[in-house]
Structures are given as structure tokens and as C-alpha cells.
């Protein structure tokens, strides 16, 4: 994509006016990011990180930037309900906060939970570091950060969540991002800033869903910072319509002895991309990621993990499963770096994949770079089919072929979701997963 300015997607985004905040540094950062996006354009498959995900089809579409009627879009409130999740809730429709669907009237002690649009009306200074940094990170011609640039230029709402030091919140906090049908193709953007203070503990459930069969491109960028000794259980359910395109980036920073656990279930979307960039910057920081991606039809779901061990005795374990059916495509890249000085670190990554149809494809690539001493590291990836012997064994006991396939596929996926502590939610995720399998 040598001539970014000629692509309808890029043109449409550049044509739309930037949101104005009245905050000098923020407006400057937005302008800077937009210029960087205009200069760098979209990533193409020559970039290693985009090798298996082409934006060719997407780049030919014009998405109108922002939904002026986001407040009026009708949403069935029952779709927000998740079994096992009944805490404070922040809901966004087409990238805008919806007070009518949210539940933040009474918050536990020490928890700040508000939409970014409101936070910016107060003292915006604490957000300055997060919201003004992106454009300068890389060389301006590098398109790798294209969507982060679009997001930084255009997002004017999102989640601001802070949990004070030593606060432990037992009820899960729910964040819901809904794409609702509009008159034309829509682009919307969400920027989240999440911080857990020292020794704070939080469960977070992040939900991506659609209302109707809307056609949109959403970008979501989340900064998540865990201060010393903080603990985060983060569950992410992505179950959007197969007409939606969703590009997410999570930037995770883990200070000393903090521990983040992430469970991800990616079911929906036409084109879905998730970049999880984690930095273990404090000694003994720990990150566990578990995930299942299950594209079917003509879906394309791409997960990119980049985990950097930068301190002593840090630990990361990643266990991901992919199941692709029909003509769907799954992509997984797990890159782990143990930086110089991160001695005694332990990094492991496993990605196993199942192809349920001869036309389905999954590309997986584990990568490991070690520059430290006394490191334990393991990685492995496989792509295969359901075990014919196991299928026959089940059938020989009376279980019909279709049921036997579901049983084996579910077991394959559940292996990575079984350590999700919220049992009710775990069972629900399991049901959603089964519902997506062919019957």
C-alpha cells in the first residue's frame, strides 16, 4: 500500500474533522497522530506482524468517522447481561459512553470508574502521559502503529479506571463495547486507561458485542498498568457480529510482583486483530494469558502476543487454542523476549490449533529471543485435526458423529479456560463456544 492517500479507508478517516477537546496538549497530540497516520499509511503484508492479515478489502471501504447518534441507538439491554458478572458496568455504544445502559452510581471504595469523555472535562493532567505519547514512539514512516495512530487522533471516549492501593474488589467490573447498526459504514474508536495501585486487586470482564448486524470498523487501545503487587483477573469475550471489524491493542505494564491473568474468547467479527504487548518491568512480575479463537464462515481472527521480560525472575505463561472451520482463517503469533538482565525468568508459550474443514487455515508462529542468563523457556505450536481414533471411540459407545466432534472440540478449547476462577462465567463461555460449533 504505497500510496496511502489513495485508499478510500485512509481518505475517509483523514477527511473527517478531529474531535476538539479544548486541551492544548491533547489537540496537539491528535493532530500529530493524524499526520503520522497520513504519512505512514496502513500496514501491508510485507510487515512481519501483518504477514497473514491483509487489509486489502477493508482499505477499499469508506467508514464515516464517529456516530453522531450514538446516544440514541437502540440496544437490547438483555445482551449486556453476563452470568456470573454483576458489578459496576460501563457501556459504550459506537464508541460513546451510554449512561442509560451503565451502572456506576455506587462504586466500591477506592475505585474510580468513569468515561474518558467525562474525565477530560475535569483534571485531564493524569491522562496526559497515556494520551499524548503514541505518535512519537516510532519512525513516522512505519505503518505498524497505523491503527494506534488513528485511535489516538480520533478517540474521544473510553474507560478510565483506577483502583487505589491496597483495595481489593471482589465483584467483577464489566466493560461493554457495543457496535450498533447505523445508516452507513462507521468507524469508531475507544481509548481505555486502566491502572491498579500497589497491592490492589481487581476482576475485569471486557465484552465486545454488536446490536443487529452493523458494519463498522472499531479501534480500541487499552493501557493497563499494574503497580507493585497488584493483581488483575481480566476476562475478555469478543462476540461481535460477523460484519464487524475490530482492531484492538492492549499495552500492559507489570511492575514488581504484580500478576495479571488474561482469559480471552474470540468468537465474532469479520476481521479481528488483537495486539497484546506486555512488558514485565518489575522483578517477579507475572503474566498468564489463556485464549481461544474460533473463526468460522469467512472470519479472520488474528492474535499477536508480544511479551517482554525486562526484570529479574519474571514469569509468563501463554496457552492458546485455535479452532477454524469453513473457510475461516486464524492467525497467532507469540513473541517472547527475555531482555538482558532479566535473569531467572521463566517464559512459556503453547498454541495448539484444530482445523475442522479442509478450507480453513491457521498460521501460527511462536518466537523466542533470550538475552539473559538462567532462563527457563519453552514454546510450541501445532496445527492438526480431530483425532480419528478418539472420534471412533466415542461413536463406538453410541455418541453420534456430530456430537462426538463437538465433545472433542469443546474439550480441546476448555483445556485453556478451565483455570478461569469465575465458574458461572466459565460455563457461560463454554456454552458460547459450543454454540459456535457446527451441529
Amino acid at each position: 500500500m504505497n500510496q496511502p492517500a489513495t485508499l478510500p479507508l485512509v481518505n475517509a478517516l483523514l477527511d473527517s474533522p478531529l474531535p476538539s477537546s479544548g486541551i492544548d496538549w491533547l489537540d496537539a497530540a491528535r493532530q500529530e497522530n493524524r499526520e503520522a497516520f497520513a504519512a505512514g499509511g496502513l500496514p501491508d503484508t510485507r510487515l512481519e506482524a501483518w504477514k497473514y492479515t491483509t487489509l486489502r478489502a477493508l482499505s477499499q471501504r469508506r467508514f464515516a468517522n464517529g456516530d453522531a447518534h450514538a446516544q440514541e441507538r437502540e440496544v437490547d439491554a438483555s445482551t449486556l447481561v453476563l452470568p456470573g458478572v454483576a458489578g459496576p458496568r460501563l457501556v459504550f455504544v459506537n464508541g460513546r459512553f451510554r449512561a442509560d445502559l451503565s451502572a456506576i452510581d455506587t462504586l466500591p471504595d477506592g475505585l474510580t470508574l468513569q468515561p474518558l469523555s467525562q474525565a477530560l472535562q475535569g483534571d485531564a493532567e493524569p491522562l496526559r502521559f497515556a494520551l499524548s505519547r503514541s505518535a512519537s514512539i516510532r519512525h513516522v514512516r512505519d505503518a505498524s502503529d497505523a491503527f494506534e495512530r488513528i485511535n489516538a487522533a480520533s478517540a474521544n471516549d473510553g474507560v478510565v479506571l483506577r483502583l487505589a492501593a491496597n483495595q481489593k474488589i471482589t465483584v467483577p467490573v464489566q466493560l461493554v463495547f457495543i457496535g450498533a447498526a447505523t445508516e452507513s459504514d462507521l468507524a469508531w474508536h475507544v481509548r481505555n486507561v486502566i491502572e491498579l495501585g500497589e497491592h490492589a486487586e481487581l476482576s475485569l470482564v471486557e465484552q465486545h458485542i454488536s446490536s443487529g448486524e452493523p458494519s463498522y470498523l472499531a479501534t480500541l487501545v487499552s493501557d493497563i498498568e499494574l503497580r507493585e503487587g497488584a493483581v488483575l483477573h481480566h476476562t475478555l469475550l469478543q462476540n461481535t457480529a460477523v460484519t464487524a471489524s475490530l482492531i484492538r491493542r492492549s499495552n500492559l505494564r507489570l511492575h514488581a510482583r504484580s500478576h495479571a491473568t488474561l482469559h480471552v474468547l474470540e468468537l465474532g467479527g469479520a476481521l479481528v486483530r488483537h495486539d497484546l504487548q506486555a512488558e514485565l518491568i518489575g522483578d517477579e512480575a507475572q503474566l498468564d494469558t489463556r485464549g481461544v479463537f474460533m473463526p468460522h464462515g469467512r472470519q479472520h481472527i488474528d492474535t499477536q502476543l508480544a511479551i517482554r521480560h525486562q526484570a529479574l525472575n519474571t514469569q509468563s505463561s501463554s496457552n492458546w487454542r485455535g479452532v477454524a472451520n469453513d473457510r475461516a482463517r486464524g492467525v497467532f503469533r507469540g513473541a517472547m523476549v527475555v531482555a538482558s538482565g532479566a535473569d531467572g525468568s521463566d517464559a512459556s508459550l503453547s498454541n495448539k490449533n484444530l482445523l475442522l474443514s479442509p478450507s480453513a487455515e491457521i498460521d501460527t508462529k511462536p518466537e523466542l529471543e533470550i538475552y539473559a542468563d538462567e532462563v527457563k523457556a519453552a514454546h510450541g505450536a501445532t496445527v492438526g485435526q480431530l483425532d480419528e481414533r478418539a472420534l471412533f471411540y466415542l461413536r463406538s459407545r453410541g455418541i453420534p458423529l456430530a456430537d462426538a466432534r463437538v465433545l472433542l472440540t469443546t474439550a480441546f478449547c476448555r483445556a485453556v479456560l478451565d483455570d478461569l476462577p469465575n465458574e458461572t462465567l466459565r460455563e457461560h463461555l463454554s456454552e458460547l463456544l459450543i454454540a459456535q460449533l457446527p451441529n
Partner: protein, 256 residues
């Protein structure tokens, strides 16, 4: 009516003819032992009867309770009461043993138009069977056969049989790889399940199992055919003389 009537069965595996005109009749209540040298087609017989893919029947008929067994899918054969105890039970990580067994049990009942059991009813049934089979309930909480010892896997097969209560149970070298204690336990399980309504086909290489599960009939399978049939004394004779020279014998009943 015979429970099982196999006539002139020919079957191929990977293009190679393994069964070459096998005849066998089994009635309810009977225990038949099928013995024979390696490569004679013993396991092929079990697999053909259960409908495993890759086993191609080229001629002959198998009539089970008056129906054409070969026309049924494996799951339909199971629902009709045919059970194969595998020579090599398959490990299925992530599928709980009890869950699996209940799914199988209810799938069979559903296929027969019977009411499915809820988890309480099923658990009660399982507890009864455990007692009879003298199997530790620890096996129930594990994934199907995963990490089971050879003996545990075979005992699990017999336990499944006890729960599913087939009419025709085919035991494919269930004795292989078992030490004497495990063999006795398996044999005791089989003996418990013997009944006037149920028939057993025990495929075995050695006579050893037949000391504990005494068969009504013993058949020698060689080169794809039953070449000799008799009572349990035939097994003892084979134990003494070995299988050498057996393939040259005339197929039993070939002239009949």
C-alpha cells in the same frame, strides 16, 4: 433366531484381504472365544463388527437380531447393543470419564426412544456398577483413559460395558498386557456380566483368559477363516500344540 449370524464375510484393510469367508453364529447367553495366530484377522473381525472406518467389507453378510449390522453407523450399532472393548482404549484429554459415559448412555437411550437419565439417576447407576465391578471411583473423575495404566484402561472398558449393558460384547485382546491380578479383575467383571440375554465374543491370542472366563465355544481363526471350532478343550489343545499347521486345515463347515 440367532443373535449374530456371520456368513462368508470378506473384508479388506488398506487393499489387503484379511477376512476370507468367515462364518460364525452366536446365540444369546453364549460365550465364544476366537483364538488364532497374529495376523489371522481377529482384530479385523472386531473392528468390522463395530463399523470402524478403513475396514471394507467386500462380500458376505452380518445379521444381528434380524437386521443388517453392516448397514449401520458405529453409533447406531452401539445403540442396538453392540459393544467393543478396545485392545488399545483411546485417551481423550479434557473429557471427563463420567461425563463421557453419561453422554454415551443417554445417546443410546435417545436412539432407542427411551427416556434419558438426569445426572442424579445416572450417578446412582454408576455407583451400583462400581460396587459390582470393584473399581475405584477415582477413575470416574479423570479424563477418559488419560494417564491410566494398561490395567486401568482395560478395567475402564469393562466398566463402560457394565454401564452400557450391551447385548453383544466383543472383547478385543482384553487380556493383552495385563498382569495376573488385573486379568483376574477383568475376568471377574466379565463373569458378573454373563447372562442369558447377553453374548460375548472374546478375541484372544492366549488361552490364559479362558481359565477365568470359561467359554462355551472356542473357534480357531486362521488366514481369515474359522478353521476349527470346539469346546473349551480346544483352547487347551492349542496351548499345547501352538498354532503351527493350523492354516492348512480345512475351514470348519466349509463342506456343510
Amino acid at each position: 433366531m440367532n443373535m449374530l449370524k456371520i456368513e462368508n464375510l470378506h473384508a479388506r484393510v488398506e487393499g489387503k484381504e484379511i477376512l476370507k469367508g468367515l462364518n460364525l453364529t452366536v446365540n444369546a447367553g453364549e460365550v465364544h472365544a476366537i483364538m488364532g495366530p497374529n495376523g489371522a484377522g481377529k482384530s479385523t473381525l472386531g473392528n468390522v463388527l463395530c463399523g470402524r472406518e478403513g475396514y471394507e467389507v467386500t462380500a458376505g453378510t452380518v445379521i444381528y437380531n434380524g437386521i443388517d449390522l453392516l448397514a449401520l453407523d458405529p453409533e447406531a450399532r452401539a445403540a442396538a447393543g453392540v459393544f467393543l472393548a478396545f485392545q488399545y482404549p483411546v485417551e481423550i484429554p479434557g473429557v471427563n470419564n463420567t461425563y463421557f459415559l453419561r453422554a454415551a448412555f443417554n445417546a443410546q437411550r435417545k436412539a432407542r426412544g427411551e427416556k434419558e437419565f438426569d445426572s442424579m439417576q445416572f450417578l446412582k447407576l454408576v455407583r451400583e456398577k462400581l460396587k459390582v465391578m470393584q473399581i475405584s471411583d477415582e477413575l470416574l473423575h479423570r479424563a477418559v483413559n488419560e494417564g491410566f495404566s494398561g490395567g486401568e484402561k482395560k478395567r475402564n472398558e469393562i466398566f463402560q460395558m457394565a454401564v452400557l449393558e450391551p447385548q453383544l460384547a466383543i472383547l478385543d485382546e482384553t487380556d493383552s498386557g495385563l498382569d495376573i491380578d488385573a486379568l483376574k479383575q477383568v475376568a471377574q467383571g466379565v463373569n458378573t456380566l454373563r447372562s442369558p440375554e447377553r453374548a460375548f465374543l472374546m478375541i484372544t491370542h492366549y488361552q490364559r483368559l479362558l481359565d477365568y472366563v470359561v467359554p462355551d465355544f472356542v473357534h480357531v481363526l486362521a488366514d481369515g477363516r474359522i478353521v476349527e471350532s470346539g469346546d473349551k478343550s480346544l483352547a487347551l489343545k492349542l496351548e499345547e500344540q501352538g498354532y503351527a499347521g493350523i492354516a492348512e486345515r480345512r475351514p470348519a463347515g466349509a463342506s456343510a
